[in-house]
Amino acid sequence: MSVLYPLGLLGLLGLLIPLAIHLLQQGYHKTVLVGSVRWLTASQKPRWRRLRLTQPWLLALRLLLILVATLILAEFIIERANVGGPHGTLILLHPDVTREQLDTLDVPDGEQRWLAPGFPSTALDTPGVEPHGLWELVVEADRKFDPQREIYVVTTDAANNFSFAKPKVGRDIRWQSLTGSTSRKGVPEQKVPAFIDIVVDEDNSEIVQPITRAIRAWQSVGVQTAIRFRDVESSNLSQWVIWMSKTEPPKDYEGVLVTTEAEHSVSNPRWRYRPLRKAILVQPTELSEMLLMSFVGYDQYAPEPGYPVDPNSIRLEQTSSTSDVTKSNQSLSPWLVMIFGLLFLAERTTSLFFARPES
């Protein structure tokens, strides 16, 4: 368990407030006019005896209120995994980035790992396994590493041509891009899928243009494609299928499914336990870029003229979305808010119970 905002723990100083109030209240007495106090002087006690805490239950509730409020502010979370050290900056290097290029960047010192499956240390050689999509790796890094760690992602400028919907992560990930990098050091050669099936509906004319654009892009890197209608038999499906049909994909399919239908994505509970290797939800217009980035390699894809290129826009922003990734952090805030509400009610009730009646 850790906190996202350690400075929020300064709120614990607020615990002193109710404590001080309860102690100082000893000196505060409501004044009552009486005819004579001669029978009360004997019952006056030394001040040190009067300096004791009154209404301890009320004090305890108020202390708990502030404690819970502080925990909410500091945002306590339970991590799912803690790969590497729990502290310090983590620099994820794209396999294309050389150490010389890294020195030219304004990146703080920290632990350096490859932005590749398993996030191997850069002390080792370049990753020998096939890298997944960039966004998936970033999301996986966010999920695996300590939320307190600051993550820098260093990629080549080709990755800046990355415009589709950014995944939502639980932290602020800084992006550093390198210009003029053409190196593909460490990227396996056999990463390009040989054949991609595209399954479409016959009556869906809206996807014609993005499909045509995607096919043109894939053919430029040597990927063969085949467009099939939805009544195609499942046995003919390749390892990579772009499912653009509104009908349900075959249930026994075990390859990588790229779908444009939210109904068929992994966020749909009905699909959660399918034997898929991977299910990716994309927008039809982002089909070509996404697949190239994920499976082919960023530098092999030459964006069309006029395509939005804005390096500053490639900054993963922290969101409060309820995506699967954010949930994986298991933030305690909702529970704490509920506890805070209950404590507040209890405090009000106790306060009324202990309220000093008019005398």
Binding site: T31, S36, R38, L40
Partner: protein
């Protein structure tokens, strides 16, 4: 008007009560309505028809000669009893009730005094009021009759209380008028620090006057029904005492009870009687409590004196 102090319904319930001095009740002086006596020096009141059993000496024979009927001559004699009311007008009498809004000891003492004045007036007794406050006395001379009652009530209504009991109280006007047939009704809370009220009572008792001490208290003062931590401010001395009422209750009740017992004995020593009146209690019940309580026996008084 008496109804400014006591409502008509309450007055009606008090009609059967009589204000009798202890000496009279003990047979040491005239009894109630002894003024309905006839004889020399008595002021004519009325004629009434002769009834069997009337003393023939009371028949007005001259009138019989003129009217050929028997009439009995009746005369009223002025009562020898004078009731002096000593009202405590110190700041502590401003103590108000926490159960009844705007109901202070002072107001209660005014109403109580007015009711007793009215009873005295009905009996034909003379009555006067002395208000004792920080700067001295406020006197309403003794007198009798309707006009005196109205005058008394009017002055009584203007009383206010402030300050503390005067150090050197001169009651010359009282000493001049006190006699063994006087009753001195002291209306106070008897919250004193140097027995200043009690020493005044001693002087009154020394003058041969009978003392009826009416101590006004609030219900809170009796059962100490305060809660929480409070700062009690003494109205007269401005002393502040901060206590936790829960802790102080037992001690307060013990001390207050001891003081009450001591005060009761002191007043009894002076041959008087102390009545503790709770100001939240209805006025007629308090008056009835005052006027119907049996007098302490001689033995009890002597025991109290010891």
């Amino acid at each position: 008007m008496i109804t400014d102090f006591v409502d008509a319904k309450t007055l009606a319930t008090l009609q059967d009560l009589r204000f009798i001095a202890q000496q009279i009740a003990a047979g040491g002086a005239y009894g109630l309505h002894s003024s309905r006596q006839k004889g020399a020096g008595l002021e004519f009141s009325q004629y009434r028809a002769y009834e069997p059993g009337d003393d023939p000496r009371n028949v007005d024979w001259r009138l019989y000669a003129r009217s050929d009927r028997f009439y009995v001559r009746e005369s009223d004699r002025e009562s020898q009893q004078t009731v002096w009311f000593l009202l405590d007008l110190t700041e502590s009498m401003n103590q108000d009730s926490h159960q009844i809004n705007h109901w202070t000891k002072l107001r209660y003492s005014q109403c109580l005094t007015a009711a007793l004045c009215y009873l005295s007036f009905q009996q034909g007794d003379r009555f006067g009021i002395i208000g004792i406050h920080e700067n001295g006395l406020k006197l309403i001379p003794d007198g009798a009759g309707h006009r005196h009652l109205d005058r008394t009530l009017l002055a009584l209504d203007g009383y206010s209380s402030s300050g503390s009991w005067p150090e050197n109280l001169t009651l010359d006007v009282l000493w001049e008028n006190l006699n063994p047939h006087s009753v001195c009704v002291v209306v106070s809370d008897f919250f004193q620090y140097r027995n200043e009220i009690l020493s005044t009572l001693k002087r009154i008792s020394g003058a041969g006057s009978e003392i009826l001490a009416l101590q006004l208290v609030t219900q809170d003062e009796i059962d100490f029904s305060y809660t929480g931590k409070l700062a009690f401010l003494d109205r007269e001395t401005q002393t502040v005492v901060q206590v936790d009422t829960a802790d102080a209750r037992e001690s307060y009740l013990r001390e207050f009870s001891a003081y009450q017992k001591q005060l009761q004995g002191d007043v009894l020593d002076l041959g008087g009687r102390l009545e503790t009146c709770v100001i939240e209690k209805p006025l007629d019940k308090t008056v009835r409590q005052i006027l119907t309580r049996p007098l302490p026996s001689r033995r009890g008084r002597l025991r109290g004196a010891r």
